[in-house]
């Protein structure tokens, strides 16, 4: 069993594995959610904080390969699990992934606040369903709110990536 006992000051220390790297978290409050720890302690600012209720999907991450909202994950309970953020889905060297590039080319980004969460959701969709139908894309991103684009260009970007991958262009990230 793993027991993360709080010190006398009720602060916790634990390890998190994020994007393949081990991070030590020290002097954390028991109730911190994973989104807070990613942004404020690990300085991974990709996942965005909007609703803190699991409603908007801006903080979507993969936990053991499963798409979840980081704000509804108790950070200390993610110790020992494999967390991947949008930063972990981009190629080394600062290039964009094919999904990110398609978002740019199709004009699927306006204010950009929802974009990292959408990139993670779309990555997860296409890795399980390489050629989704329009309905499947809509359902897959139904937990990601975008108030700018009206979603049309986001759908176009997803289909563009799926088509390019099917044609053997870019293996994706």
């Amino acid at each position: 069993m793993c027991e993360l006992s709080a010190s006398e000051t009720e602060l916790l220390g634990y390890h998190l594995r994020v994007n393949g790297r081990d991070y030590q978290v020290i002097d954390a409050q028991l109730c911190e959610n994973l989104l807070y720890v990613l942004r404020e302690r690990l300085r991974l600012y990709g996942a965005k904080n909007a609703c803190l209720e699991g409603e908007c999907g801006s903080c979507s991450v993969l936990v053991d390969g499963v798409l979840e909202c980081a704000c509804t994950v108790l950070a200390a309970a993610a110790a020992g699990r494999d967390v991947v953020t949008v930063e972990g889905l981009t190629p080394a060297g600062g290039d964009l992934s094919d999904i990110q590039q398609a978002f740019v080319e199709q004009g699927a980004v306006q204010c950009g606040f929802c974009t990292p969460g959408l990139i993670v959701s779309v990555h997860h969709l296409l890795s399980h369903n390489p050629v989704p139908t329009d309905l499947e894309v809509r359902e897959a991103i139904s937990g990601n709110l975008c108030r700018c684009t009206g979603y049309g260009r986001i759908l176009a970007a997803v289909h563009a990536v799926a088509a390019a991958r099917a044609n053997g262009e870019g293996a994706g990230s």
């Binding site: 793993c2 916790l12 028991l30 803190l52 509804t72 309970a77 937990g143």
Partner: protein
């Protein structure tokens, strides 16, 4: 005090026995919302995520046994959906992919919201819920477990272990009304089972009372009006409307920020009537060819 990540049910029970203040964390989709809003300040947390006894589901004779840690996404798996179709229908309406991946059936029970989407299913199918603590277990019905809005009869130290349901019972329907399809907490929801072998109808209503309501008079009426040989409702439109009226009469809705009592009463009647219509359109065995054919706006 702290965060505990037990790796077995026994360890989890020992912890809850030893740390009486500890709160149980399942999928986190309700728990963490309260924590983030400052409405819940646990001194200690026992996360059930790594407890293998609570995961997955299994066949046991004519029943299915669902681990408390079964997620909504797992309820959508085709093998389980074939055995308990209305559970899959209900799971499909919950939240978003992110929420369905994290949220669990045990968590839905533990939160005990009047709007919990799996709860009418469990009521309509007569679920038996195993609850355990260090050294003992007991089995309860949904009525016995959920004592009020967001209240359960769980005692300190107790954990919901699994949920037992009959497999493959008759024709099943789940319908829900809310402002849109995704990320919606039910304004009203209904689970309905037409049990061809047992020759009875069961209907359970959610979000229209402090707890899930079995519409007993409506059930008795529908049971008496079905021609069980011909698989049809005697009395047509009038019988359907009388059934809907009895469902509305069974509801005890309130006005709140999500809806008015009047609308909830109306909506639950429409859902129940539609569920009965659909169930009677289908064969006794098997699932509908296209459940969305007539009413594309309702999931």
């Amino acid at each position: 005090m702290g965060v505990f990540l037990p790796h077995s049910l026994e360890e989890a029970c020992e912890l809850l026995d030893r740390v009486p203040d500890a709160e149980i964390l399942a999928g986190g989709t309700d728990f963490m919302v309260e924590v983030n809003a400052g409405r819940r300040r646990p001194k200690a947390v026992v996360s059930l995520h790594g407890v293998p006894e609570l995961t997955g589901w299994r066949r046991d004779g004519s029943d299915v046994v669902l681990g408390a840690g079964l997620t909504y996404t797992e309820m959508l798996g085709s093998e389980l959906a074939d055995l308990v179709p209305c559970l899959a229908q209900a799971a499909r309406t919950v939240g978003s992919p992110q929420i369905r991946n994290a949220g669990t059936i045990g968590g839905n029970l533990g939160t005990a919201s009047p709007a919990g989407d799996t709860l009418p299913v469990l009521a309509a199918l007569g679920a038996h819920i195993a609850v355990g603590r260090l050294g003992s277990t007991r089995t309860v019905t949904l009525d016995e477990l959920i004592s009020g809005p967001k209240r359960t009869s769980l005692e300190p130290g107790e954990i919901i272990i699994d949920i037992r349901l009959p497999a493959g019972v008759g024709t099943q329907e789940f319908l829900k009304v809310g402002p849109r399809n995704a990320m919606i907490i039910a304004v009203a929801n209904v689970a309905l089972v037409v049990d061809w072998a047992g020759r009875r109808v069961r209907a359970a209503l959610g979000s229209v009372g402090p707890v899930i309501i079995r519409a007993v008079e409506a059930e008795t009426f529908a049971t008496s009006r079905i021609d069980w040989e011909e698989h049809r409702l005697v009395g047509g439109e009038d019988a359907l409307e009388e059934f809907a009226g009895l469902v509305r009469a069974a509801a005890h809705p309130i006005d709140d920020h999500r809806s008015t009592a009047d609308y909830r009463r109306h909506a639950v009647g429409v859902c129940a009537r539609r569920a009965l219509e659909r169930a009677l359109r289908h064969d006794a065995i098997g699932t509908p060819a296209d459940p969305f054919k007539d009413e594309p706006c309702v999931s």
